[in-house]
């Protein structure tokens, strides 16, 4: 867990290090992040893949470059970047570590995971295509946290332009912040269109988690460690698995497999992480 938090922190800092490399900033924004990070953030150095795809939906073009890039990342690692790189996932992980006086919620993600595909199809693709407005960005809680709030805090001019949608954004962010304290990664489970896209690639990605079904006793220890509320021994290729490797530390019958090269011949046992 500590190793993952460290990686997430480094990723969040690098993704938003605009002040450290102002000369490089304009050029880097032609490249998409492999994770969710608002490009309107005052310190962002790259482009948000979700905002970019939505922009292409509005201008009625297929974003081949971003789709290809996300496809390559997903086909190699699946949803791994959600667990190890995404700054908004990092914020949710930190929020969930806040102690809560009552028992925190345990929700079986599989029952509700279809919601993020509705968000992906409707709010992210169909409505922007029809209305020519980036409605997912308008409501995105990550955008509010990383761009809306910093810009309003930094600029008096922008503060004067606050409209009703801003307060809707704040309410959505507040709801996800509270939900993150009670439930691990609610945005990733039920709303993230990028996670939904990467999740599809979990089925064929080169990096996989495998269960030794001959030795698994279905004791359920791995369930308790899963931040996505999954049962790893039932479906390790689940579209909701973020490859965080938390379950590997609880059971010796789970292992992560990856090919030596992304295009190599076969997935083979690579390492055990405890």
């Amino acid at each position: 867990m500590r190793r993952r938090l460290g990686t997430q922190l480094i990723s969040a800092v690098v993704a938003n290090s605009g002040l450290a490399a102002p000369g490089l900033l304009p050029g880097l924004k032609a490249c998409s992040y492999p994770f969710f990070n608002c490009y309107a953030c005052p310190l962002a150095i790259g482009a948000c893949p979700i905002g970019t795809i939505q922009h292409f939906a509005i201008i009625r073009r297929v974003p081949l470059l971003v789709v290809g890039f996300l496809g390559v990342v997903g086909s190699i690692w699946g949803r791994m970047s959600c667990a190890w790189l995404c700054p908004f996932g990092f914020v949710q992980d930190l929020l969930h570590r806040i102690p809560w006086p009552r028992r925190k919620l345990q929700v079986d993600t599989r029952r509700w995971s279809w919601v993020k595909y509705v968000v992906l199809a409707v709010l992210f693709l169909v409505i922007p295509y029809i209305t020519l407005e980036p409605w997912f960005c308008k409501l995105c809680p990550a955008g509010t946290l990383e761009a809306g709030l910093p810009w309003v805090a930094l600029s008096g001019t922008l503060r004067g332009l606050i409209g009703p949608i801003f307060w809707v954004k704040i309410a959505i962010l507040a709801a996800f912040v509270l939900a993150s304290v009670l439930l691990s990664r609610p945005f990733c489970r039920f709303a993230c269109p990028l996670g939904a896209t990467y999740g599809l690639a979990n089925r064929w990605s080169r990096v996989q988690i495998e269960v030794d079904h001959d030795k698994c006793t279905s004791c359920g220890k791995c369930d308790k460690s899963c931040p996505m509320g999954l049962r790893p021994y039932l479906d390790v290729k689940s579209t909701d698995c973020i490859r965080c490797e938390e379950c590997l530390g609880t059971c010796e019958h789970l292992k992560i497999t990856s090919p030596k090269l992304p295009l190599g011949p076969a997935a083979e046992p690579a390492r055990r992480t405890r």
């Binding site: 998409s32 309107a40 470059l65 789709v67 890039f69 761009a147 309003v152 922008l158 009703p164 076969a266």
Partner: protein, 56 residues
Amino acid sequence: MPTPERSSEQKRTSRWRGWPVLLFIGLALAGIFGHEAAEILLNATLLCLSCLGLGR
């Protein structure tokens, strides 16, 4: 000593599975040659006020 025959499971896992990566690399290259990087850069650089919930 005779070589043990490979099971169907082993044959399946050893099948080359790198084709999705190649497919998506092709898509990305098509995007690069279609000058999509300039469009991405322009979109990412301009600050969209309505996306921030600012303005009407």
